[in-house]
């Protein structure tokens, strides 16, 4: 193992940070936005190691963002292959911190956090109990326990169970995958089609959820693992894609969302980043639709608004105590756009063939 001494340049600490979620198909993963926010922090120098699953993740080829990329085995391969691969990478890179950004991989990273720590790789993640408690499948019970408004739902293991769920929850019905994707079904045919599509993509169970009408608000929050909220930034979606993703959004000033995030973090002692997806009804009730256990793809907006959550996570992961932010800029807008990154087949060939670039 190469023993690299940490050199302090101009009093700035050098930190090697591995980041996943470099994809952008349909909707970008959070990885590039996380990296962008980290790079903007002037308090440390970051060497960024990209961790990818596919050779066409654009972050791999963004050399101004990512210094080096390694491919990982798919989450479905389990913790053994993941640990082996990270061990190999660690011999070359001496990673200080890994920030996983995909729901599908978080379970594995949380499980191996102690082994990663032994290798010298920090994480800043919730524990398994916290992770499981806010899972889509447990959200209703979680909401009842903590007096939060949560839509009613049913776990569906067979398509024949959909009709009973629809009878109880009524159409329109929200049909959701275990990790990602959701469809609003207005008829039983649409619900069944969604069931099969989601099942083939993400497995079982599928979640059938009560449809709540209202304004979509997402809240990015960061907890320190001791029940304290370090940062909260609420965002109202201004443009929503047909997949329900925010393609533009604006930071808003509403203390009720901030209190909701604080309540969630206090109740769970959440450690790390998270995103609360809220539907604010006309009657003023904020329904918690989902809690995503990682940074959202729009996380750079928090840095732009004055509360750089990824950089704060890095500092906390490296042992620094962070005082909670008290202000952010309201009216800050993000507008997502599509940019054709140009690279060469020679680079594609290298990452495809060797698993590194």
């Amino acid at each position: 193992m190469v023993n690299m001494e940490k050199i302090r340049l101009n009093d700035k600490r050098n930190i090697v940070i591995a980041v996943t979620g470099l994809n952008a198909i349909d909707s970008p993963g959070p990885g590039v936005a996380v990296i962008r926010a980290i790079r903007e922090c002037a308090d440390f120098e970051a060497r960024i190691i990209g961790l990818s699953y596919e050779a066409l993740e654009p972050g791999i080829y963004m050399h101004n963002m990512v210094d080096k990329t390694y491919r990982l085995p798919y989450p479905s391969a389990g913790i053994g292959p993941l640990l082996d691969r990270l061990r190999d990478i660690q011999k070359k890179e001496n990673i200080d911190l890994v920030i996983p950004n995909f729901d599908a991989e978080l379970f594995n990273f949380i499980k191996i956090a102690p082994q990663l720590k032994n290798m010298g790789i920090h994480t800043f993640l919730p524990d398994l109990d916290q992770f499981e408690a806010r899972h889509k499948m447990e959200l209703h019970e979680f909401g009842k326990k903590h007096n939060l408004f949560v839509p009613a739902d049913r776990l569906i293991y067979q398509v024949s169970e959909l009709s009973k769920a629809a009878e109880e929850l009524q159409y329109p019905l929200v049909v959701k995958g275990k990790f990602y994707d959701a469809t609003i079904a207005y008829t039983s045919e649409q619900a069944q089609k969604a069931f099969h599509q989601l099942k083939s993509k993400w497995g079982l169970p599928i979640i059938a959820q009560e449809f709540i009408n209202g304004t979509e608000i997402n809240v990015a929050a960061l907890g320190n693992g001791e029940g304290d909220t370090v940062s909260v930034v609420p965002m109202r979606k201004l443009y929503i894609t047909d997949k329900g993703k925010a393609w533009a959004g604006i930071t808003i000033d509403d203390s009720s969302y901030i209190e909701l995030a604080r309540k969630f973090i206090k109740a769970t002692k959440w450690r790390g980043g998270c995103e609360l997806e809220i539907m604010q009804t006309k009657e003023g009730k904020p329904y918690m639709m989902e809690v995503n256990p990682r940074f959202p793809a729009w996380i750079y907006l928090t840095a732009a608004a004055g509360q750089n959550q990824p950089a704060s996570l890095v500092k906390m992961a490296m042992g620094e105590k962070i005082e909670p932010f008290t202000t952010y800029e309201v009216g800050k807008i993000f507008i997502r756009y599509s940019w054709d990154l140009i690279t060469d087949v020679s680079e594609f060939q290298i990452i495809s063939g060797t698993g590194e670039l």
Binding site: T215, R236, L238, I250, I252, D253, D254, V330, G331
Partner: protein, 80 residues
């Protein structure tokens, strides 16, 4: 009659509600009415001010003014 304290407006007639992220635009006369509402000037006084400044039939303007106020009310931009 007062505009809510947190509502941001510009001289060009742009209105922004930071609590909801909603934004609206008004024409120059609407913009002028908004500046009076910010100062908590009452309905009749605003109508008199506008009718003195512009060549407009008072009865006609009262209807337009009340319609404008109800739009502001529907969008939760006024206090009380």
């Amino acid at each position: 009659m007062k505009l809510k304290k947190n509502i941001a407006t510009s001289e060009a007639g742009f209105i922004f509600n930071p609590g909801t992220g909603d934004s609206y635009s008004s024409n120059p006369v609407g913009s002028e009415i908004l500046s009076h509402l910010k100062e908590d000037i009452d309905r009749n006084e605003i109508i008199d001010l506008i009718c003195t400044k512009y060549d407009v039939d008072k009865t006609h303007f009262e209807k337009d003014f009340d319609d404008f106020i109800s739009q502001l009310t529907d969008n939760n931009l006024l206090d009380g």
